[in-house]
Amino acid sequence: MEMVEKEKKEKPKIPRQKMPEQEAKVRAKNFNEVPLGYTPELAQLEASRCIQCKKPKCIEGCPVEIDIPAFIKRIQDGDFVGAARKLKERNSLPAVCGRVCPQEDQCEKVCIVGKKGEPVAVGRLERFAADWEKEKEEVFIPGKAPATGKKVAVVGSGPAGLTVAGDLVLKGHEVTIFEALHKTGGVLIYGIPEFRLPKDIVQAEVSYLERLGVKVECNCVVGRIETVDELLTEYDAIFLGLGAGLPQFLNVPGENFCGIYSANEYLTRSNLMKAYLFPRYDTPIARGKNVAIFGAGNVAMDSARTALRLGADTVRIIYRRSRDEMPARIEEIHHAEEEGVQFHLLTAPIRFLGDDNGWVTGVECLRMELGEPDESGRRRPVPIKGSEFQLECDLAVVAIGAGPNPLLPATTPGLELNKRGYIVADLETGKTNKPEVWAGGDIVTGSATVILAMGAGRKAANSIQEYLMSK
């Protein structure tokens, strides 16, 4: 009898609900999205795990401070559209963030439920609510403040720029986005593959902004067609959300052999130019059978998984540090492993080998061991003498990071840069040293995450709003 009583009192523990996903063997051959999203039943079951803390930690863990318990409560109550609208009070791109945010380092990391077990799957619930609103075509267009007559130029249409544009158009300002490429979305379009972030989702987010009244001008390379100073004669404020788009190379001999891509080029060909659909789309892409990917961040995982989908037999991630130092999200590493990507850790390339036609045929590597911690706090990889060995490859992708593209800064006199070429901006307001110019996202911080860029955009938008209304 006593036992039964006790069981009644203790709520049976519901485990964290997994998201259905395409089976690894199947998905490694197609470009469709891998996780399929929660059903309403799964979403409500997962939402029921949220204990609606009086002092929630999750909100503090979110760079744009979404009222997480409030949106999850609406899912618990079956008000899915209401949940999406709650999200949109703080986050204009919930369908994107629900997919690509590193929740395990943010809201879910500090979730109270997670102290004793697994945290509430905030990201999966965010994705569910945003997708629901979209699928039901219940996308809500909020009311705008009366027109102020002020004009704002946003340079770059990635996460930072889209956030600034969305926030300021609602305040009644006239907002124009200038994008260098022929499509909007920045890294969401050229960088993140379809199987992780379907492009129609990005397109829908931009269309939503256009419905709010944001003007979009593609094919405008600011710095060439118009300089920042020229834009300043027409606009009251400018936000620079340029991203970190300059690819870094290994700087080892043979790196200019054909078949060696920067991750930017490889992913841009596949994602933006849709080279995976060649010859229906005109842009070609080399389809390697034996592919080497250098680096172990999210971009490296995206490149490796793209290579598999383009028909590779073997895809190797080559990384000079150990598994613990790999910068990619655990989920991405896990997905890559499931699909058959191999990991060659503590291995560093020293030169590429090629044939008479200038095509890559292999890479010579050195084995490494971990030494003392370096300035990043990670243990420094040290080459093991005499450990040279060769790996064959007919395609290589260098995914070791990106830097600031100097094109716009070089044509903007008086704009302060740091010694690595990033724009110096106040992290709380996004203000640069140049009057009427703000900046945020990767062009200030270096490569980071979508949500951090959005957080920077939000802060800059607030500062621009304050400035415009006091002018």
Binding site: H182, V221, N264, F278, D282, T283, A286, G358
Partner: protein, 268 residues
């Protein structure tokens, strides 16, 4: 639709026309499924708001552009891109254009003349029919020489033959600018190096975004990797690794052929 045909499009692009300077280029994406290809501007008319695109039909994208009629639209055109030619008054300049390279050379030649230089121009093509902008180049220079590989017009031979003669005859030449097919630029630079005359070339590697984002266009100049789209397109011709450039230009020959064959078959 003969391949190798030279094609001329006048495109309404007022903002680009207003901004473009000699030596710069544009990127063109013809339609939704099209690729981004860099094309040089053979001239601009800021008052009419037009730019001149002059190109040879070599693959699907250029074949597709050639089918456009008056009133048709190009979906995307991006520019001006690349660094403009650095033009100053230095004395005698020889401007050498081969094939469609003459199109790029025309505004540059004009700019050197306007800056007060004595400009000798040499233009060449494989035959008379492929020769372009003769009248324009005549007006843009003080002295125009013409060559054809097959002798159907002008000097029978290569532009480098004529250049050699000029360099032999006079030693006041301060600068040679050479723009054309890679083998032409390579041999031209070999020649001028022997005479110790500074030579600039304009390179045309494969590009994708052409804003410094992808590195498809990397070229080795003076032992260093440069991005042609933002560091160029003009470089010191004596420092360029032409063999690497040619190999990189040929990276997608198989795909380019498949694409062109498919276009001929289905017309899109």
């Amino acid at each position: 639709m003969a391949e190798k045909t030279v094609c001329h499009l006048k495109v309404d692009a007022p903002r680009i026309a207003r901004k473009a300077k000699p030596g710069q280029f544009v990127v063109v994406k013809a339609n939704e499924t099209g690729e981004r290809i860099p094309l040089t501007m053979g001239g601009t008319d800021p008052s009419a708001g037009t730019i001149d695109l002059i190109f040879q039909v070599v693959g699907k994208s250029t074949a597709l552009l050639r089918t456009l009629n008056v009133g048709d639209a190009i979906q995307d055109i991006i520019g001006p891109l690349g660094k403009p030619t650095h033009v100053e008054n230095i004395g005698t300049v020889v401007c050498v254009g081969g094939g469609t390279g003459v199109a790029v050379m025309y505004p540059i030649t004009k700019a050197y003349k306007e800056a007060g230089n004595h400009v000798i121009a040499i233009i060449g093509a494989r035959n008379k029919d492929l020769l372009i902008l003769e009248e324009e180049m005549k007006a843009a220079s003080h002295d125009l020489r013409v060559t054809t590989d097959d002798g159907s017009y002008g000097h029978h031979g290569f532009v480098t033959d004529v250049l050699k003669k000029i360099l032999d005859e006079q030693n006041q030449v301060k600068l040679v600018v050479g723009i054309g097919p890679v083998p032409m630029m390579k041999f031209l630079c070999k020649l001028t190096k022997g005479y110790g005359v500074k030579t600039m070339v304009s390179l045309n590697p494969i590009m994708v975004d052409a804003t410094g984002m992808c590195g498809a266009c990397r070229v080795t100049v003076g032992g260093k990797t440069m991005f042609c789209c933002v560091d160029g397109p003009e470089f010191d011709g004596h420092e360029v690794d032409y063999d690497e450039l040619v190999k990189r230009q040929r990276a997608y020959l198989t795909e380019e052929k498949a694409s062109l064959d498919r276009f001929k078959e289905i017309g899109r």
